[in-house]
């Protein structure tokens, strides 16, 4: 066990830091879910990142990456959040679908989709849930009907993150007449294809962060299916594992937030009760513990291990820590906590209250925390179903 960085790792950090210092936009971009302009500003940023070769550092060079290992990915993420760089509008693509494509895709599919993903040219939405299929995802009803070398897609997807402005979506579709976990395939479709209707849905924060998608005889080639026909459930579970497990929420996000929380606390310390200080320390410790856990997982994966039920423990931990961290910030701000940053007397309230509202969705998305607890109890502890 050796918890120090190598000279090469330090040099890599310095390289990332220098590039970000020169390229991160001076002013924060409008939120990517707030408007088409905000979304396109983030797409432009993704293209800037890609031009520097930073689109997805762990991917092979031929797909726009640098072929780096997971420790280097963590260092990149640490510097990314430290620099306050924009949120990744293409996270559904690069963090969820990308790793799954790398594992299940054909060489032709990889060539077609990965580079455009890493470059920001194609931004992805996910289309898992349906009105009747939330936690019980195996009850999806949308169908993919074979028609020669093509599929006809029909159905109703909902709670699709980024779908309001994105270019492509991936989702589960079943062979007509099939049941439950059998007969499903993971299929990609362009969001501007004939027969696709996207209706944005406003989130609690007022932004169109997700959408419902109606598919009516949407024709896609067989090429758009990832993995074998009928193997969609297994492929989908692999994607969900990446999402919960490692990539969706890098620890740097919470460490950066915890550092801002400590700064906020110091500014207000003289007026605060000791219990608030304890909550601040708790958030800092939790962010630190999450980082250590991910480093440990990254090392294990690099040594040939696989990611298992810790996807579920991770997801519970970061979603709960995110809420507690923001609650601590609101406790510091006290009677001004409710103010939005544009209020004339907002002072240093920043985006804490809006981010708090966002954090409340954490225990819901990427598989509800209740489902994660079932997974831990059944797969890790061996309790009966």
């Amino acid at each position: 066990m050796d918890l120090s960085y190598t000279a090469a790792q330090r040099a890599f950090r310095a390289e990332v830091r220098a590039w970000l210092a020169a390229n991160v936009p001076q002013r924060p971009l409008a939120h990517f879910d707030a408007s088409a302009e905000g979304f396109e500003a983030h797409r432009t940023w993704e293209r800037t990142l890609a031009s520097g070769g930073w689109g997805m550092v762990t991917w092979p060079e031929q797909y726009g990456g640098r072929g780096l290992d997971l420790i280097q990915w963590l260092i990149f993420e640490e510097e990314y959040y430290r620099a306050g760089a924009p949120g990744r509008v293409n996270q559904n693509g690069i963090f969820l679908l990308g790793p799954t494509l790398m594992e299940y895709g054909t060489p032709e599919q990889k060539a077609r989709f990965l580079s455009a993903m890493a470059s920001g040219d194609e931004i992805w939405a996910q289309a898992w849930s349906e009105p009747q299929a939330g936690s019980d995802l195996a009850s999806v009803r949308a169908t993919a009907t074979r028609d020669g070398g093509e599929y006809l897609l029909n159905g109703h997807k909902i709670w699709s993150s980024r779908a309001a402005y994105a270019d492509w979506a991936f989702g589960l579709f079943r062979a007509p007449g099939s049941e439950r976990h059998k007969g499903m395939s993971l299929i990609f479709f362009p969001l501007d294809a004939p027969g696709v209707t996207v209706n944005p849905i406003r989130k609690m924060d007022g932004h169109a962060g997700f959408a419902e998608i109606f598919l009516e005889n949407v024709r896609v080639p067989e090429f758009n299916r990832l993995g074998e026909e009928g193997q969609g459930w297994q492929v989908c579970m692999a994607t969900a594992g990446f999402e919960r497990g490692l990539m969706l929420r890098s620890p740097a996000r919470y460490q950066a937030a915890a550092a801002r929380l400590v700064e906020l606390y110091r500014r207000h310390q003289s007026t605060l009760d000791e219990t608030v200080g304890a909550a601040v320390l708790r958030s800092w410790m939790d962010a630190d513990a999450y980082a250590l856990s991910i480093y440990s997982t990254a090392n294990r994966l690099m040594n040939g291990g696989t990611i298992g039920a810790e996807s579920s423990t991770n997801k519970i931990f970061w979603s709960e820590l995110d809420i507690a961290l923001h609650q601590a910030a609101l406790a510091i701000l006290g009677s001004r906590a409710e103010l939005l940053s544009e209020a004339p007397d907002a002072g240093d309230v920043g985006e804490w209250v809006g981010d708090y509202i966002f954090s409340l969705a954490g225990p819901v998305y990427a598989g509800s925390n209740e489902i994660q607890r079932n997974i831990i109890a059944e797969r890790l502890l061996g309790l009966p179903r």
Binding site: L3, T313, R373, A377, L381, P384
Partner: protein
């Protein structure tokens, strides 16, 4: 950067766990209680013959001269099996202090072999654990380190809620003959002892927590109500899953704290304190959840859960209570650089 245990470390821990599993069965533990002896001679011999007393001791004294990372999994196994004997404080805390103070002391040889044991007092602990079974005592006096034959001290037993814990008030007289380190070098030695004591208490708490979850899970698979195993109900599943999450995020903190022990700076000390806080919390929640899952059985003397609950309670306040350790975390948070690049930061270099 390599945050994994080596094959050798995992195998040694497995071997230690096997000896502990064999010698710390419920029946064996309970038999010690009926005798009220400081230790079970055959169990202690088995542990000593496995070399467990020698892990942190210098080679010159017959030790293996390994590091805290090598011992942390052993301490965890001691917690998992509720080991009554003072292996952790003897081999993990007292012997390293004595070896650092007087490397050539002949007494070290018999301590390393396990033929006799050393108990340790510390300013943060009002009482000395397992003093009556020890040949000698390490005692602080205005920062100095003193080594005293136990026979020369007056011991007063303090009853603990943990029936296996033997706590004593120690009355003694410091003299030039007992002093083995002056205050100038003693301060660092006592700091190290505190860090080892807290770190290995945290490791024991990890083991206690996992054992409580395992006991409760096993029971929840067997016990039926309303015609089904209670472990099939989400109320039970989710309670145990919540504990497991707490354990999973205490573990890497404990292991990182062990790996960074030698740093001896505000960052590494805060990490030990962080480890102690969260591992003790995990053990506490695990034990209380295990009582709840066992129902009325959990409240009985007959089921072993209470041994773990009581050990967790004792360790939570030993070697620095949560408030003490929170202050050390605060010293790091408010006194050193923060941010995503500082996970492995230290005083000398910037990450």
């Amino acid at each position: 950067m390599n945050f994994t245990f080596s094959e050798e470390q995992l195998m040694s821990a497995q071997a230690a766990r096997a000896v502990l599993d064999d010698t710390c069965t419920s029946t064996q533990l309970r038999s010690l209680l009926t005798r009220d002896e400081p230790r079970d001679a055959s169990r202690w011999q088995a542990l000593a013959e496995s070399g467990l007393c020698s892990v942190l001791a210098p080679e010159s004294a017959g030790g293996m001269e390994l590091g805290t990372v090598d011992f942390v999994l052993i301490a965890e196994a001691c917690g998992y099996t509720a080991l009554p004997e003072p292996l952790v404080e003897h081999a993990g805390v007292a012997v390293p202090l004595l070896a650092a103070a007087v490397p050539q002391l002949p007494l070290l040889g018999e301590l390393v072999s396990g033929a006799s044991t050393l108990a340790i007092a510390h300013p943060v602990n009002p009482f000395v654990a397992d003093a009556d079974g020890a040949t000698a005592l390490l005692l602080p006096h205005v920062g100095e380190v003193h080594l005293l034959q136990t026979a020369h001290a007056r011991l007063t037993r303090q009853a603990s809620i943990d029936p296996f814990r033997r706590l004593f008030r120690v009355e003694w007289s410091p003299s030039d003959a007992t002093r083995i380190a002056d205050a100038a070098s003693g301060v660092a030695l006592w700091d190290d002892a505190l860090d080892r004591g807290a770190l290995f208490s945290a490791a024991q708490c990890l083991g206690i927590a996992q054992r409580c979850v395992d006991l409760a899970s096993a029971y929840a698979k067997e016990r039926k109500q309303f015609g089904k195993p209670i472990g099939s109900y989400q109320a039970v599943k989710h309670a145990l899953a919540t504990v497991q999450v707490k354990i999973e995020f205490a573990k890497p903190v404990v292991y990182a704290a062990a790996a960074q022990f030698e740093q001896r700076d505000v960052q590494s000390r805060a990490r030990i304190s962080h480890a102690k806080i969260v591992a003790a919390e995990a053990a506490d929640l695990a034990a209380r959840t295990a009582v709840q899952v066992h129902g009325a059985m959990g409240c009985s003397w007959e089921v072993d859960v209470h041994f773990f609950l009581k050990r967790a309670l004792a360790l939570n306040f030993a070697w620095g209570d949560p408030l003490f350790h929170r202050r050390r975390v605060a010293a790091r948070v408010h006194g050193a650089a923060l941010g995503p690049d500082q996970t492995f930061g230290d005083q000398q270099t910037h990450a």
